[in-house]
């Protein structure tokens, strides 16, 4: 390597040329080794594009694994906590998977592409775990992270923008549905999924068509005020929508070195993803014991007084520290100050009033605020078009 070169160990996605051109702030982050834009122009503007028009996010770095073979369903059913047999062909399911201690290793989505053919999208690298889990199963596992380019198109005008690009009939696709179009002779898989809690789609295509897809999308999307958005804007949207982020709201169990720092699905408010009727799945034995014994923690969404985001705050009950905040943001659309917290049992039941100990700094001056907060029962942002089919023409 020569000095002064632009060589870098960081990978780029097939959309990189277009992203780099659009990234006016030149503000980059690292997502699983890929160069990823934190922000393109202005975080708030990008956020409002997602909420009021359509935003485009490059999610290629998401780890993608193809699972095929006659045992694919049985394999996945043993791997994850929910019942995969209920995810029909052409459907997508959100799920978590656990280790034998019933601790969440990751969350992700399972795409049932065809009979005996699935794709699993994960936050963490999972090659070794997926292969170990294949012992005794007739399945083939392929890491296709680099073979599939992916874009999320999220927001109220996303359906209209994509329809304008030629995806006719997309408005008939139901939430968590999956369909395929032809894009310049290449299959374009479209799923009605996303991480913003609004109407939105994810597009999956071969890398050599990535730039063409980006160009066509922004061309047809222009009247629909389409805009690319980075991870900072996504962070606001996902907190507003109540979505957990692996590595932020929980530590993937395999990355945890200190005893007790991982969490079970029940402790993350994801008990609804656990199907104890299944005879066997990873973590079942431990989760059964947890159900009998009780969980250590509870996941709570807090509505915090004031407008100071409660990042990294301790949560108090009286003088007792009962929890900590994992994610926090001022949510512009819902106009509320939201925090996700891990609260020690038995605290944190819906309706309980707690206090967030917030520290913030203005011009090197630190201030401590004891902000009252309340455990709420649902995310602060939700719109009917997220679930409506057709979603309506915005």
């Amino acid at each position: 390597m020569t000095t002064g070169s632009d060589d870098t160990m960081m990978l780029t996605t097939p959309f990189h040329s277009r992203i780099a051109a659009a990234c006016e702030l030149n503000c980059w982050g690292d997502w699983m080794g890929y160069t990823t834009p934190n922000a393109y122009t202005d975080v708030e503007l990008e956020y409002f594009a997602v909420r009021n028009a359509a935003g485009v996010f490059d999610l290629t770095p998401m780890n993608k694994y193809r699972i095929t073979g006659t045992d694919a369903e049985a394999y996945l059913n043993r791997l994850v906590t929910r019942d995969v047999s209920k995810i029909g062909v052409g459907r997508v399911g959100y799920t978590v998977w656990c280790d034998e201690a019933g601790q969440v290793m990751d969350d992700g989505t399972i795409f049932h592409l065809a009979e005996n053919d699935y794709r699993i999208c994960a936050y963490a690298r999972a090659t070794d775990w997926l292969h170990w889990s294949a012992l005794g199963f007739d399945v083939t596992i392929e890491d296709e992270t680099a073979e599939v380019a992916a874009l999320a198109v999220q927001g109220p005008t996303s359906c209209a923008a994509l329809t304008a690009m030629g995806l006719v009939g997309l408005d008939q696709l139901k939430p968590f549905g999956l369909t395929e179009f032809d894009f310049e002779g290449e299959p374009l898989v479209v799923s009605r999924t996303g991480f913003t809690g609004d109407l939105g789609y994810e597009l999956w295509i071969a890398p050599h068509k990535a730039e063409a897809l980006w160009d066509r999308l922004f061309e047809s999307g222009e009247p629909y005020l389409i805009k690319p958005f980075g991870t900072h804007a996504l962070e606001m949207a996902r907190i507003e929508a109540g979505f957990l982020q692996a590595g932020v709201d929980f530590m993937p169990a395999e990355e945890v070195v200190r005893n007790g720092r991982s969490r079970s699905p029940f402790e993350l408010g994801l008990g609804w993803l656990v199907d104890m009727d299944k005879s066997v799945f990873n973590g079942r034995r431990a989760l059964q014991q947890e159900l009998a014994r009780g969980s250590r923690y509870r996941f709570a969404i807090l509505d915090v007084d004031g407008n100071k985001p409660a990042n990294h705050s301790f949560i108090l009950k009286g003088n007792k520290q009962v929890g900590t905040v994992t994610s926090a943001a001022w949510c512009p659309t819902a106009k509320s100050n939201v925090a996700f917290a891990q609260i020690e049992m038995p605290y944190g039941a819906v309706g309980e009033e707690l206090v967030a100990e917030i520290y913030y700094q203005r011009e090197l001056h630190w201030t401590r605020v004891l902000a009252p907060c309340k455990v709420i029962d649902a995310p602060v942002f939700s719109h009917p078009r997220r679930r409506a089919t057709p979603p309506g023409n915005f």
Binding site: D99, W129, W132, L135, G136, F137, S279, V280, R285
Partner: protein, 521 residues
């Protein structure tokens, strides 16, 4: 389906029968299912030619725990001794044989210095073996999340180690992980003595004298002496008689034993064991299933890897369980003549392991899935003490052969004749003319032992006795206290703590654990 049994036990090996007896005595209704036509598992007598019988796997009894023997009242149930307190004789081609009995060695040009050194070494290793013996008599403690029982066990172990004194403690800590070759070189000059003790450290295993953990293997064997076995013993009627005595004791305690009843699967549902399904399709439900089969057979074949959580399946798939030991059985028309051996000495344990490099070279072959061209042998001529095993005037010879691969290139059938011939020639170097006395022979390869006695890989110990697979690691983390993966599923065989050898402790410890956990276990 009717739930008539509290416990179904898979396999009537010696540990299974011991476990079943204790459970029945504790009031459990126990059914033992055995695929073979005889009880006893590796404690078996095999008629390999008309009128000629030998102990098929284990041929010496030198580790059976006295409490087990007493509790099962084996002598009341037909156990008879053909011979006890037998010496080990390391054979020399020129007749300069070395005899070892307890801490005493003679012959083989042994020097006074070596004799003295051996007495010292024997005393020291006896102290070490005592410590191990105590640890073998209880379940292995869990190191993480250990409860009071486990902490007590650990404290006792630590205290025992401390009580040995500083020199012994540091020496044990030093040698337990290393190999026999180095320790032998530190202590002795006599090649035959070093060869004999090295063979003791690795019989039944897939290790050479230079393999780490062989010192543990040696101490493991020496535990038999702590249990009161001075030398090797021979059971009248072969080891099968021990199996039959154990079965009689079990039946007397109320255990039902069904022979020729192969279990096809151990059935599980929602984290619990529910029973077993036999090869003929019959289902037997039970809240507790105890497997005397090795851990790989139990989890991979009977439960099925798909029914296990990934972590357990992964651990099962990583168990080192490849055998390297074969058995050769010879039917002889008369008593063989060994150069330099008196006729009365022929009933002792005869060993061909002239030096450590001989064994190491024999081991080299099996690493590459080849058989040893000069194997090390542990020979028994049981008919010297027990004439009933062969027709009048005739004899049988049984030899443990180190080493033979589980799956040689081209399959065993391509090599069986050659290897048999080779082992016979090896014996003939010490017993010229024995070839002419052979009327029949049988070679049991590791693959044969797997087929006939259900041992995965043909491994005698149901899993290598390496430091990574013993005590709190046996058979694998998460399954160390007999219960594993499912409520109600237990292991009681050699694959569980403390391990293989006809000791009976795995079966007894498992029964104690099941009884302790109560009916709901």
């Amino acid at each position: 389906m009717t739930d008539t049994y509290d416990v179904v036990l898979v396999g009537a090996g010696h540990n299974g029968l011991v476990c079943a007896t204790y459970l029945a005595r504790a009031g459990r209704k126990v059914l033992v299912l055995e695929a073979n036509t005889e009880p006893g598992g590796c404690a078996a007598t095999r008629e390999f030619a008309p009128g000629y019988s030998v102990s098929a796997c284990a041929q010496w009894l030198n580790q059976l725990h006295p409490t087990v023997a007493r509790d099962l009242a084996l002598e009341n149930h037909g156990l008879q001794w053909a011979a006890r307190q037998l010496a080990s004789i390391s054979l020399d081609v020129d007749g300069q044989h070395l005899t070892q009995r307890g801490d005493y060695v003679e012959g083989g040009n042994i020097t006074a210095a070596d004799s003295a050194a051996f007495r010292k070494f024997h005393a020291k290793t006896t102290r070490y073996a005592k410590l191990l013996a105590r640890a073998f008599e209880a379940r292995a403690p869990k190191l993480v999340e250990s409860n009071l029982t486990d902490r007590l066990t650990l404290i006792k172990l630590g205290l025992g180690l401390k009580m040995m004194g500083r020199d012994d403690m540091s020496d044990l800590m030093r040698i337990i992980l290393i190999n026999m070759y180095d320790v032998m070189e530190e202590n002795f000059d006599n090649a035959q003595l070093k060869g004999l003790l090295s063979l003791d450290s690795l019989l039944g295993s897939h290790m050479g004298p230079r393999t780490p953990s062989t010192v543990f293997g040696y101490l493991y064997r020496r535990v038999g002496e702590v249990f009161g076995h001075a030398g090797h013993a021979q059971v009248k009627g072969g080891m099968g008689a021990l199996g039959r005595a154990m079965a009689a004791s079990a039946r007397a305690a109320g255990v039902e034993i069904r022979l020729s009843s192969a279990v096809a699967s151990i059935d599980v549902d929602a984290g619990r064991v529910t029973g077993v399904t036999l090869a003929d399709g019959e289902q037997i439900s039970a809240g507790i299933v105890v497997s005397n089969a090795d851990p790989i057979t139990t989890f991979e074949r009977l439960v099925g890897l798909r029914n296990l959580e990934t972590d357990t399946a992964r651990r099962v798939s990583q168990i080192r369980c490849t055998g390297g030991t074969a058995k050769l059985h010879l039917a002889l028309n008369g008593l063989p003549a060994f150069t330099g051996l008196q006729e009365r000495q022929l009933g002792q344990r005869l060993v061909i392991a002239p030096d450590m490099n001989y064994i190491e070279r024999a081991f080299n072959a099996v690493k590459y899935k080849e058989y040893s061209t000069a194997p090390a042998l542990d020979i028994s001529i049981p008919t010297v003490h027990d004439a009933g095993l062969a027709p009048a005037g005739a004899h049988v010879l049984s030899a443990i052969v180190q080493f033979a691969p589980y799956a040689p290139q081209g399959g065993w059938e391509a090599h069986r004749e050659t290897f048999t011939q080779l082992v016979v020639e090896c014996i003939a170097r010490y017993a010229p003319g024995i070839e002419q006395q052979i009327v029949a022979s049988e070679l049991l390869t590791p693959a044969d032992l797997e087929r006939d006695y259900g041992m995965t890989g043909g491994h005698w110990h149901h899993g290598e006795l390496g430091m990574d697979q013993v005590l709190m690691m046996r058979p694998f983390p998460g399954a160390t206290q007999y219960n594993a993966a499912f409520d109600g599923l237990y292991l009681c065989g050699a694959g569980a703590h403390p391990g293989g050898g006809v000791m009976g402790l795995a079966g007894r410890n498992a029964a104690r654990e099941i009884i302790k956990r109560g009916a709901a276990a």
